[in-house]
Subunit: 468 residues, 2 copies
């Protein structure tokens, strides 16, 4: 089964009585304007789906609870909306319903610096959070590239460039406030670092893509800002050498903070977009965190290792400004690549494999992409075994989308055979449902469905996502 090229639309009508009830409760916080609905009816996925029938701009957990209660009373779906940056169609109203925009819930509720914890409303973005944390000496490391909301990142189980050292949202969300399908509000954990008290509702909600509850508050682990930070660029003669070097450094147990692969296509794109002048060869962007001596020790070890794999001498980004420029460019890779082929859209893949199988996974993927002839770029959180190849397609040519999806299917199946997953960090949404079934199997999917049915018997929480 390949990924669907057009998602199944099964719109449940929004009765006028619900709009009336929402208007009575929310007044100007409710919008049914076409432009607003359309803005909330798309994400970074390549799908076109009719927009939600209304948008509620929620300002509190109570707002979310009330909106959910009203929608539930009319059997109408609700979809939480943050930055709109999800990639797999998570936000699309395939069964109709209303969008709950949480971006006004952007308050940092409690910085518990002495416990290295923070509690935020779901609409706080990661850049906003780190801005506000700057004076505390702490930071929140998870960085999916986009300036996503922390609620959305939790719902998608996001990760990104720092995950190799600091883990993903799975490891860094300590507790959540969640609105259930019937509007009740639960807290899923405490502020203790660890707990064996009952089922792990926090981890169940993290990655559930809004299908089991709507996350309204997030308690996150923070880390001391490293005393020393060093970033370096190292070029390799080919992707295979860069990947082999990564495998070696991970196997050596070096606590590298970031190790990102860019193929020549990605380098060309960011050079064009961000005027970087990086050598247009496969390269690793790396960052080291620690004490000054620790960073020096790590960097020397990795430089020596890189030399074994024909890596260049490190080019250092020494100042915070240079580092910011470098990482911004990396984060722009997706947008930069889109600009290399005006009018194109991007079909992105997201497999993650055991680190020892990464080389064969990437090499075969590149061979297939070269043979197919679609323009593409590769970026990768390679320290985790996770990489993305983006195929640039002309949306007016269905055969290009079909070809890209065929390549995606091939690479996902290879990843599954290698012991990997179809999604390292983007989630399932609409796009990867067939792959999830292949990966997890029917029985595990039945377990997921049973949980969904138990917590959302009327199917109003982002229905049609993860599984149909």
């Amino acid at each position: 089964m390949n990924a669907p090229i057009a998602p199944k639309i099964l719109t449940r009508p929004t009765p006028p009585a619900l709009i009336d009830a929402l208007t009575a409760r929310f007044g100007a916080q409710l919008s049914t304007a076409q432009a607003v609905r359309e803005q909330h009816g798309r994400d970074e996925s390549p799908f076109d789906v009719p927009p939600p029938s209304a948008v509620v701009f929620c300002e509190s957990t109570q707002d979310v609870a009330d909106a959910v209660k009203l929608a539930a009373a009319h059997d109408v779906p609700v979809i939480a909306f943050g930055a709109g940056s999800s990639l797999e169609g998570q936000l699309l109203a395939v069964q109709g319903g209303i969008s709950l925009d949480l971006t006004r819930m952007n308050r940092i509720l409690d910085v518990a610096a002495a416990d290295m914890l923070v509690t935020v409303q779901a609409g706080v973005t990661r850049l906003q959070l780190n801005d506000e944390l700057r004076h505390t000496g702490l930071f929140f490391p998870i960085d999916p590239g986009a300036d996503a909301t922390l609620g959305g990142m939790a719902a998608t189980r996001a990760s990104g460039t720092n995950a190799v050292r600091y883990g993903t949202m799975r490891e860094n969300v300590l507790a959540l406030t969640v609105v259930l399908a019937d509007g009740r509000v639960v807290r899923t954990g405490t502020q203790a670092r660890k707990s064996s008290a009952g089922y792990d509702l926090t981890r169940l909600m993290v990655g559930s893509e809004g299908t089991l509850g709507i996350i309204t508050e997030v308690t996150l682990r923070l880390y001391p800002q490293p005393e020393a930070v060093a970033a370096a660029v190292c070029s390799f003669p080919d992707v295979a050498h860069a990947v082999d070097c990564t495998i070696a450094l991970i196997q050596a147990g070096i606590p590298i903070a970031r190790v990102e692969l860019m193929d020549p296509g990605a380098v060309r794109a960011v050079n064009a977009h961000d005027h970087l002048g990086l050598p247009e060869q496969p390269l690793l962007l790396m960052e080291f965190h620690g004490s000054p001596a620790g960073v020096r020790e790590q960097a020397e070890t990795v430089q020596a290792l890189a030399a074994d794999y024909a890596g260049s001498d490190f080019a250092w980004a020494d100042t915070p400004e240079e580092r910011t420029k470098l990482w911004k460019a990396r984060h722009h890779a997706y947008l930069s690549a889109l600009q290399m082929k005006p009018g194109c859209r991007c079909v992105t893949t997201d497999t993650c494999v055991p680190i020892s199988r990464l080389a064969e996974s990437i090499n075969d993927t590149i061979t297939e992409a070269d043979a197919a002839g679609l323009p593409y770029f590769v970026v990768g959180h390679v320290g985790d075994g996770n990489y993305h190849i983006g195929y640039l397609i002309d949306p007016a040519k269905p055969e290009e989308r079909e070809l890209a999806e065929r390549l995606n299917a091939q690479l996902v199946r290879r990843a599954l055979k290698l012991g990997g997953t179809c999604s390292g960090e983007h989630g399932i949404g609409l796009h990867k449902q067939g792959f999830l079934r292949e990966e997890a199997g029917d029985d595990a999917l039945d377990v997921m469905r049973a949980i969904k049915q138990a917590l959302d018997p009327r199917g109003i929480l982002n229905p049609g996502k993860i599984f149909a």
Copy 2:
């Protein structure tokens, strides 16, 4: 609501037809001998409950699946049994049923050294695993003290001395093979380090205490054996200073591998039992992992910090043998303490609080224990904010148990007020059900119940645990 002193027994009969069917399927793998049943009818909790009606010695996932299917057909409970070291009554057959002994499932199935992963059968113990890993340069850090089985550790969401650096079973179980309530077998994850593919069934099963499925295989993350290891003992004038020093070192972000508190009662007990000659003062046992330079740097920083809190000069355990002796003694603390009062039993507590509140939590607990007059000892994984006070009670004197439970209730309520949890690592079992309700609230408990009902509608998987 205080913890129940005697658990509610609600035995569901085991029909002879089930015993016949089990005999036909399992032959000599089935035992109904009184001694075998009694051995499988107790754990390290202070409860007395009638034993299970039979024990099946399972040798494969298929054995477990078949036993569960047969039990399900007769509506008879099943309880998985590993090392029998759980502390909160998790293994007790409060609703009757049969025990599935998994200790024969003790094979290491796959050491994926290049991916720093291992897959084991549920009955492999942590010491066995580390023994077999020795030649690989890797190790599995989670260490709850007892030589528990890895299936049991996963089911309890165990942690212990190394969790401050390496995390708990929550962070270190990558995937599971689980037998469901109807005997179907699911795999909950892949070998990829991270994944966003669907609901996190792994984390849902970890800590579910055998109530949602029976774990038969566990895939675990491994770590490189540190290049250098140093262990040190540091004495303090009182517990408050030792705890304040711990808080400071955690807040400084020092990646200490272990930092364990022992109060004078615990030190006296291990001195008597293991002939250690430690100064009978509050002390911290610490361990540092890293490169030789990194370990030196960490140790110097912590020694300087300890001096600020009136800590003694570090006494070093330099050789592996000395370190093993020290940690063995620490792990014997519970048994050593029991021997200080012959015939006694121990009521153990397990709260975990945010690190900044640890001092007030422990200090008030000690004040109350001193006032109550029961002998006690304190050990703590203080880097995580988790500690145990053990009250030594005379089982013949119900008033001592009542007093200990009263003290436990007081300290749990204090922990909850401080943002903590009633259980850092021992789980809920029978003993902490009232506390779980206070901690999670009725609505979150309803969510847990709904999940239980969805996955085990006939209530045959370790019924009566976590919630009634």
